[in-house]
Symmetry: C2
Subunit: 282 residues, 2 copies
């Protein structure tokens, strides 16, 4: 997220001085059926991600936003409205699009019940975005201190997973859920909260998904789905949606020398709710 | 599966002497949204299953097909066409409907690629039903001896899961898969074979589902779904479909005193492919 300092001769959507953002990917083939369907994140020939991805143009790997400057194809740069708070908008291109994509793809409707499992960097964006869509948002957290924040972000209800009575009351009541918990968590506990034929989308756990039980999933024909960031068109949509609704991340701006301390706070569940690194102070 | 020996005064769809079948359930509330949507297997007030289910009418538990006679509500008895082979049709009401339901619900189309994981009692019915739908059926088995049978049942291809080259060639090629393996199996191995946005339906493993990986599921936005038998209308549909296409289970008829030996063969993967118990010889 920053200011355009130069454009190529054929660039038409940016001029020097514009605000621009680059999300989690910087390139894709542009020709496979997924790229043609605005799903560059699922490029069949391999998306080039912004961080630590083999760079098909320059060789080596990509270094992402941990840089003072980035050179990127026009199609992978996103226009950022001039009046918004840049650090608050930066997480839209990662946590925002990651949670907006399932909401959008699965067509969450006003009044539907939407569950958010885990309320950290991703989860708090899920809450704000779904609440702005008019959904009835319910948070499930392990941090008692986040319950009050959840209300401020727009949830109707927030519970500790350990609250067995609340979990029982919420059974078979959700139209859509997202799990933003970054490690394996007890999925069946949340699958049980879905209405019949509904889906829990995992955007948090990157490695094993644990706890799903065949018979219980069969009783309600529920699904557990994967999802990963979102396409470029969807990324433009989340920026427009957030600007329109006045949504931004709740963040703390840090300098690069504070990264390690911030990382530790993330691990200790003390982050509230996203760290944004000010690279102008590198 | 048997012959009607008596009907109540208000029964209109059966007469003494008709062939009738009873599937995995004998009652449901008939009033909840799922019952009204022909999904009695997901009755929100609790389906009464045919075996070992609390019996809301008589008290105690249900004893299912291990009986010489069964008394059942008209709505839960299924008409069986007079000319079919009864033992070959009996498994349609369990293995048949269980595999037909996801094929039907997810609208498998002619020419689509359909994967069947595990080819036992359920899997061999999935193959026959999907092949009759015109799908391109591919089996994944652990039993080398089943590969030739798979061809006879209508598959286009059949592989051992352990064949890494075959698994790699089949990557991202399936429109729908069902896993009929009755225990946890390496789900991600098969999720990787789905095209983008497609679903693997688990109808086999009743307890833990293992091996799914969040990031890999995210790369292709695949889903893993539960399913359990099917509703009464769908059960009627599978009987009609099988009669029309001349499909029946491949079975061995046994007497009740052979049940324990048959059970052992199931465990040892020697069943080919379904045991049907002749209760007239009890």
């Amino acid at each position: 997220m920053g200011r355009v300092v130069g454009v190529g001769a054929e660039v038409v959507t940016f001029r020097e001085g514009d605000h621009a953002g680059v999300g989690c990917m910087v390139d894709s083939c542009g020709e496979c059926e997924n790229c043609l369907a605005d799903r560059e994140q699922n490029c069949l020939n391999g998306t080039t991600f912004t961080y630590n991805s083999p760079d098909k143009v320059s060789g080596g790997v990509t270094y992402g936003g941990y840089s003072k400057r980035i050179v990127v194809k026009e199609d992978f740069a996103l226009r950022i409205p001039p009046g918004v708070d840049l650090p608050g908008f930066a997480p839209l291109l990662c946590a925002g699009i990651t949670t907006f994509s399932p909401i959008n793809h699965r067509d969450l409707k006003p009044g539907e019940r939407f569950g958010v499992i885990g309320m950290g960097g991703l989860g708090h964006m899920a809450v704000k975005l779904a609440a702005a869509k008019g959904a009835e948002v319910v948070v499930f957290t392990t941090s008692e201190g986040k319950i009050a924040d959840a209300g401020a972000f727009g949830t109707a209800e927030a519970y500790l997973w350990s609250d067995e009575a609340a979990m029982a009351r919420n059974r078979a009541s959700f139209d859509l859920m997202v799990s933003t918990v970054p490690v394996a968590c007890p999925m069946q506990l949340f699958l049980n909260l879905l209405k019949l034929d509904k889906t829990l989308v995992n955007v948090g756990a990157l490695f094993p998904i644990e706890g799903a039980q065949g018979m219980l999933m069969g009783f309600g024909r529920q699904s557990l789905a994967g999802s990963m960031i979102g396409g470029i068109a969807e990324s433009r949509a989340v920026i427009d949606f957030a600007a329109h609704h006045g949504i931004a991340a709740t963040y703390e701006l840090i300098t690069p020398d504070q990264i390690s301390a911030a990382c530790e706070k993330v691990v200790n569940k003390e982050a509230r709710y996203r760290y944004v690194i000010d690279m102008t102070r590198a």
